[in-house]
């Protein structure tokens, strides 16, 4: 579903991402771990075509994202670290607007159901987003992904700054998306969340993918040891 071939991004002499080769199959949740500047967000931005690759290509469902911009974007949904919605609109209005942009015109009731299923408290659905917490905005993001029928989720540190309860709720939402066959690429610092939610984990450092494995093959302690080993080297 998601694939990168020798994906490289350079800013002058600085290499942000170095020959990344990655394959993520349908329904997998691939967690990219790494310190700041490891190249996790660069990878996501390349999939989103926000930046152009210096070399190589990023593909979604076999399509090069830089050549099939519209088609690939229609398949994905993006939730950044701090999902910013329009503050003067309600959660429902935001959802309706973004769904409309993707050509989806669900009824008001359907959208309300989606927001509720995504965990947004009913009394907040008609309130302006300016009164929402970060966790609530992330839930609107998940509702949007579901409303748009996204096949791919690109998440950039989505649980950063969330309290444990909200973080846990978010993981549950991701797992429910996985059940629906949604493929997820998530950049995170959160080892626990990666082990708990991800099907696959990759460790990145200085633009290079050092290691990748299935999360079921490692314990949390092993993962932590492995991560720290790479970070200290």
């Amino acid at each position: 579903m998601l694939e990168t071939i020798d994906l490289t991004k350079k800013y002058g002499d600085f290499t942000a991402l170095n020959s990344l080769n990655l394959k993520i199959k349908e329904g997998e949740i691939f967690c990219l771990l790494g310190a700041n500047g490891a190249g996790k967000s660069t990878t996501i931005n390349l999939f989103l075509n926000f930046i152009k690759a210096t070399h190589g290509k990023a593909m979604i469902n076999g399509m090069d994202v830089s050549k099939h911009v519209k088609e690939t974007k229609q398949m994905l949904s993006y939730i950044p670290e701090n999902l910013m919605l329009y503050k003067n609109l309600t959660g429902l209005e935001n959802l309706r607007f973004f769904c409309g942009l993707g050509g989806k015109n669900q009824s008001k009731d359907e959208l309300v159901d989606l927001l509720e299923e995504s965990g947004l408290q009913t009394d907040f659905i008609h309130k302006r987003v300016s009164s929402y917490s970060k966790g609530m905005r992330q839930k609107v993001g998940i509702a949007l992904a579901r409303a748009r029928g996204a096949k791919v989720l690109l998440l950039d540190e989505p649980t950063s700054g969330l309290d444990p309860k909200a973080s846990n709720e978010f993981s549950e939402l991701l797992l429910s998306m996985k059940e629906r066959g949604v493929t997820t690429l998530m950049a995170t610092h959160d080892l626990f969340r990666a082990k708990d939610t991800g099907t696959h984990i990759g460790i990145m450092k200085e633009g290079v993918l050092l290691e990748k494995f299935e999360s079921k093959d490692v314990s949390f302690q092993d993962l932590e040891r492995l991560y720290l080993k790479h970070m200290h080297n």
């Binding site: 926000f50 930046i51 690939t72 949904s77 993006y78 910013m84 409309g100 942009l101």
Partner: protein, 477 residues
């Protein structure tokens, strides 16, 4: 198209919920209402006064009694510049050019009753008219409406989310422009409806026969002007890194467009083409009439030549033997010479005005405000060209009146019979009532070709800027 509409709808929703924008819109609507009301009251009062004064003067002329035609020519009459319905939208130069003029033989009097003379200096340079609101204040509203168009999306991170939905920048830009234009139309359309109803109620086709055409062009030009401001503000927002920078840039442009460039060009105009004072101007006319344009053919010499010519033509040796009253001929010839001198001086004065105005016209390429200001005055018949046209018409009327009096004197009285001969109402009635009709709207537009061209260029310029920016725009990650 659907994407553009969606974005426009979202922008309108957000703008409505922003208190500042709502407050500004209410202020603009209130100002437009006050301006319209004040304009209508002023129009109605002046129109009534002018119509009454016009009627009284005509009656006075016709019923002045039997008298010598030359005394009647000096008795003279007043003519009044009719107040047109469009002047309630844009006062233009009406406040400064005067509303009436006294017409008599030999003299071209100054226009009187300039409303600006009665105003304090504060009001004189900033009367509240609907045109002022459209030209100066609505662009300010546009700035507050659009300065954050893109900076806020960028600063809040919503632009990333928008772009991640697979839409390009072009529909985002046009969606925003459509939204701001829709908001503006919501504010100005009620004004246009009320203004239209008022102009329909007041039948003003006598002095300005093509009101409909002028109103059409007026609306079109103002819409283009406001659209240029909207597009320009959105472009500045695209190019600015923060909302603060965008607002500062736009306010600086507003000050440049509305104050600095117009004042500077006016000062340049005055420096490059200085106007003579009224005293010098009048003295020069009197001197040329007295000494002749060549400074050799004085009035006495000219009259002597005329006398010889008439004696020769009628083969007589005394003006007493002429079959007509030579006094009437002499007066008319003197009048003709005075008119010729007046025309030469007047034309050179108008030429100076035109040269000054040309600087203002050309400056409209750097300030769209100047383009719309000049076009608006032209289309509402409150500009300098209409004023000059009115002055020419009154002068032609004066000349015709004096010619009729002199011809009657020459044909029907004898030389030396100044008090004996008296004309009556039959002669006064041959002088038709003065009715002024403005030049046509198309003629006015042709006089403002540079301003029209500059508005078109501004339109193309901002369109090209936006197209270029939408292609080159990058996300700040």
């Amino acid at each position: 198209m659907n994407t553009i509409l969606l974005i426009a709808k979202k922008e309108i929703q957000i703008a409505i919920r922003q208190r500042l924008i709502t407050a500004l819109a209410i202020v603009i609507m209130s100002l437009l209402s006050v301006a319209l009301y004040a304009g209508y009251v002023a129009y109605d009062q002046q129109r009534t006064l002018i119509e009454q004064a016009h009627e009284d003067n005509r009656k006075e002329w016709l019923e002045q009694g039997d008298k010598h035609p030359h005394i009647a020519a000096h008795y003279g009459t007043f003519v009044f510049k009719p107040k047109t319905i469009l002047s309630l939208f844009d006062f233009g130069l009406d406040t400064y050019t005067g509303t009436s003029v006294y017409l008599e033989a030999h003299y071209q009097h100054e226009f009187m009753f300039r409303p600006a003379q009665a105003h304090s200096s504060m009001i004189r340079f900033g009367e509240l008219s609907a045109a002022l609101v459209f030209q100066v204040l609505i662009p300010l509203l546009i700035i507050f409406l659009a300065f954050q168009a893109f900076t806020q999306e960028r600063e809040n991170g919503t632009l990333k989310l928008l772009v991640s939905q697979g839409i390009s920048y072009t529909p985002i830009i046009w969606g925003k422009i459509l939204a701001y234009l829709s908001i503006l139309l919501t504010i100005v359309v009620p004004f246009f409806i009320v203004a239209f109803v008022l102009s329909a109620l007041v039948n003003d086709s006598d002095s300005i026969p093509d009101v409909g055409l002028r109103v059409f062009f007026l609306i079109l030009i103002y819409l283009v002007y406001l659209a240029i401001f909207v597009a320009f503000s959105v472009w500045v927002s695209i190019r600015s890194s923060t909302g603060r920078n965008s607002l500062l840039t736009l306010l600086t442009c507003w000050i440049l467009f509305m104050i600095i460039i117009p004042k500077t060009t006016a000062n340049f105009g005055e420096s490059f083409y200085p106007l003579p004072s009224m005293k010098i101007y009048r003295e020069a006319i009197q001197r040329d009439i007295k000494n002749g344009l060549d400074n050799r053919t004085s009035k006495t010499v000219r009259e002597e030549k005329l006398k010889e010519e008439y004696l020769k033509r009628y083969k007589v040796d005394s003006i007493h033997k002429l079959p007509l009253n030579f006094e009437g001929v002499r007066m008319q010839k003197g009048e003709d010479y005075g008119n010729m001198v007046y025309d030469i001086h007047k034309d050179s004065l108008i030429d100076l005005f035109n040269r000054q105005n040309r600087i203002s016209s050309l400056s409209s390429f750097v300030s769209p405000y100047l383009a719309v200001r000049n076009l608006s005055m032209g289309l509402t018949a409150t500009d300098l060209n209409t004023s000059i046209h009115f002055q020419r018409e009154t002068e032609n009327y004066r000349r015709e009146l004096v010619r009729k009096m002199n011809n009657d004197m020459a044909q029907n009285s004898k030389y030396g019979e100044f008090y004996e001969y008296k004309a009556n109402k039959n002669l006064w009635e041959t002088v038709k009532d003065f009715q002024y009709t403005t030049i046509t709207g198309y003629d006015i537009l042709s006089l403002y070709f540079i301003e029209l061209l500059s508005l078109i260029c501004w339109g193309i310029f901002v369109f090209v800027l936006l197209s270029y920016s939408s292609r080159k725009m990058k996300l700040v990650l």
